[in-house]
């Protein structure tokens, strides 16, 4: 199913001319294999056996799996076990987005109103090495907003250089708006940055002019259609150049209802045809207090159902990344409140950091065994699901990670959402319900907030739950499920689902569809990610 990855666009001039400019490394080969593999996986049945075993998920070839398996942003599985860290060394930006207020951190990483400390490359690399030595699961270092890493190339690449010298096992990633990308692709390849995220919100300047008020280009500020036209050309050229060099490219898009929501289907096709490996559609987060153009002019974000419908439409034959928690798998977060105080810049600069390569390796081996155990647990769980027919439903899960139901309902800062259907349990997203999102309401409202956030779910899986919220949830039509505490999420959800199907068949319960849910998340903010 080559055409799955290279639809019509592949044969159109612009792509071909670009990709033949410099003979491809092997990404086209890889993508080709991946396409074939996908075809085989999705069409199921006979083809499967001949697909070989990648040791990874069935729908991914071994080469890609190798590249992404420890990347918390790209691999759903890795998300449970590994963490990434961001450093802010590059605050300058070369474009303006209507959803960005650069006073605060980038939407991809942070909490409302929080400003990351701006670090020099020396400070940043020392901090990264100190954290990585303490937290073995820290395997990815990203440079993202506020600002655009490639609008600050000196600081960005110096940081990469310093880190790669001491810790070659840490993967480097960067997120960019793409304007400067074509100029830096070779440098990116040189530092073995194998993951680049480009935020692409449009491929049509008519649409783009409503998202980007200006760009800074050739020493001038350009506006409107002209600005958006240059931006989209540079973004797509940059993507093609990454693909030619075998550098994995992920695309982020911000879904802005009424502006680019329908258009993102076109964006999806355009980026697929140019070799993008994942496409992550994120909801616009917009409120007046963010001080962004969209926040102030009342532009709304999508509802959970609108977002999911678009993601489903784009999914087809490409991996849609739904597990991007907008960077909540934060290594520094794993340190816990008390420990992060040990990692202030002052203290780190005074520290003698010894990079613990051995300890990190041991941890990573342990994680591999854990992952094997999960694969075992998965076997056989699909039997008996045929009864579901066309039925699809969502459940929410309270978890602290490791793929296990291990969080107390009342302590959950977010819920993972799984879709259950005949084909099994599929992770489809996160819903944040933490304090930052509640705008400082009292206790009762907190529960209401949670109910609104998971209102489209039939059940919520928790390690523990109190009597009162239990009753309220039941009343709201969401079944609280606590009998699978500390067990694997997908396995438990499917056991519950089969039981649900039996009850429906027996007429004990009537299956009804649930309504939409509200997306509540942290503030805005900027892209470059």
């Amino acid at each position: 199913m080559t055409e799955a990855f290279f639809p019509e666009d592949h044969s159109n001039g612009s792509v071909d001319s670009a990709s033949s400019a410099d003979p491809a490394v092997d990404i086209s080969d890889v993508m080709q294999k991946m396409a074939e593999h996908k075809g085989c996986g999705t069409e199921g049945g006979s083809g499967k056996a001949s697909c070989g075993s990648s040791g990874g998920p069935e729908d991914m070839p071994a080469e890609i799996w190798e590249k992404v398996k420890n990347h918390p942003c790209y691999s759903e599985e890795a998300h449970h076990h590994y963490a990434r860290m961001h450093v802010a060394v590059a605050p300058a930006c070369n474009i303006q987005c209507n959803y960005c207020n650069r006073k605060y951190d980038c939407a991809n990483e942070s909490r409302p109103g929080v400003v990351s400390e701006r670090l020099t490359p020396e400070q940043a690399s020392k901090k990264v090495l100190a954290v990585a030595s303490t937290i073995p699961q820290m395997t990815v270092l990203g440079i993202a907003g506020p600002g655009d890493p490639l609008a600050n190339p000196g600081k960005t690449f110096e940081t990469f250089r310093l880190i790669s010298e001491v810790a070659p096992d840490i993967k480097l990633c960067l997120s960019t708006n793409g304007l400067a990308l074509p100029d830096w692709v070779d440098e990116i390849a040189k530092y073995k940055v194998d993951h680049v995220t480009i935020t692409i919100n449009m491929i049509d300047p008519e649409v783009g002019q409503h998202i980007y008020p200006w760009i800074f280009w050739e020493n001038k500020r350009l506006q409107g259609y002209e600005a958006a036209k240059i931006l989209t050309e540079r973004q797509l050229l940059g993507l093609e150049m990454l693909t030619e060099r075998g550098i994995l490219a992920k695309i982020n898009s911000v879904m802005i209802p009424g502006i680019n929501d329908k258009h993102l289907v076109e964006v999806n096709k355009a980026v697929k045809s140019r070799g993008a490996f994942l496409h992550n559609i994120m909801p616009l987060i917009s409120a007046p207090e963010h001080g962004t153009v969209f926040g102030l002019n009342g532009q709304r974000g999508p509802t959970a159902q609108e977002l999911k419908a678009l993601q489903d439409e784009c999914e087809g034959d490409m991996n849609m990344m739904r597990h991007c928690r907008q960077c909540r798998a934060d290594a520094v977060g794993l340190l816990g409140e008390d420990r992060s105080a040990e990692f202030t810049t002052d203290k780190i600069m005074a520290m003698e950091v010894e990079y613990d390569a051995e300890g990190r390796k041991a941890y990573q081996q342990a994680v591999e065994s854990e992952r094997q155990a999960k694969v075992e647990a998965k076997k056989g769980q699909l039997d008996g699901l045929e009864a579901a027919g066309d039925m699809k439903l969502l459940v929410a899960v309270a978890t602290k990670g490791h793929g296990v139901i291990n969080e107390h309902f009342g302590h959950a800062k977010e819920f993972q959402i799984y879709e259950l259907s005949q084909t099994g349990a599929k992770f489809v997203g996160h819903r944040r319900v933490d304090l930052y999102c509640q705008g400082g309401y009292g206790e009762e409202d907190a529960l209401e907030t949670v109910i609104k956030a998971i209102n489209d779910c039939h059940a919520v899986f928790v390690a523990k739950i109190g009597g009162c919220p239990k009753a309220d949830l039941t009343e709201a039509g969401i079944e609280p499920v606590d009998q699978y505490a500390h067990e694997f999420i997908e396995q438990s959800a499917l056991v519950w689902f089969k039981d649900y199907l039996v009850k429906v068949a027996a007429g004990e319960i009537v299956h009804t569809d649930r309504g939409d849910a509200a997306i509540r998340q942290g503030a805005l903010i900027q892209q470059a990610g």
């Binding site: 605050p91 300058a92 930006c93 070369n94 303006q96 650069r102 006073k103 701006r118 506020p146 600002g147 609008a151 600050n152 800074f216 020493n219 001038k220 500020r221």
Partner: protein
């Protein structure tokens, strides 16, 4: 005249610093400042003052009328 930065609006993004053809911009006391003795309003270098063009906050890099207009 030279340009000046309205300190209360500056986000400290550093973008202007790198673009100034005269190295007139530097960080001082938590915000960025323009040295009026060095600023040429970009005359002779670019059509538009670079700090104005890149600054994410409108009306932050503005003409400082305390100084006479720069003459090339």
């Amino acid at each position: 005249m030279a340009y000046k930065i309205v300190g209360s609006q500056c986000t400290n993004c550093t973008a202007c610093e790198a673009l100034c053809p005269n190295e007139a911009i530097s960080e001082a006391k938590g915000t960025f400042v323009i040295d009026p003795a060095k600023c040429t309003e970009c005359i002779g270098h670019f059509d538009t003052p670079q700090c104005v063009a890149i600054c994410p906050v409108d009306e932050t890099c503005v003409i400082d009328s305390a100084y006479p207009r720069y003459e090339a």
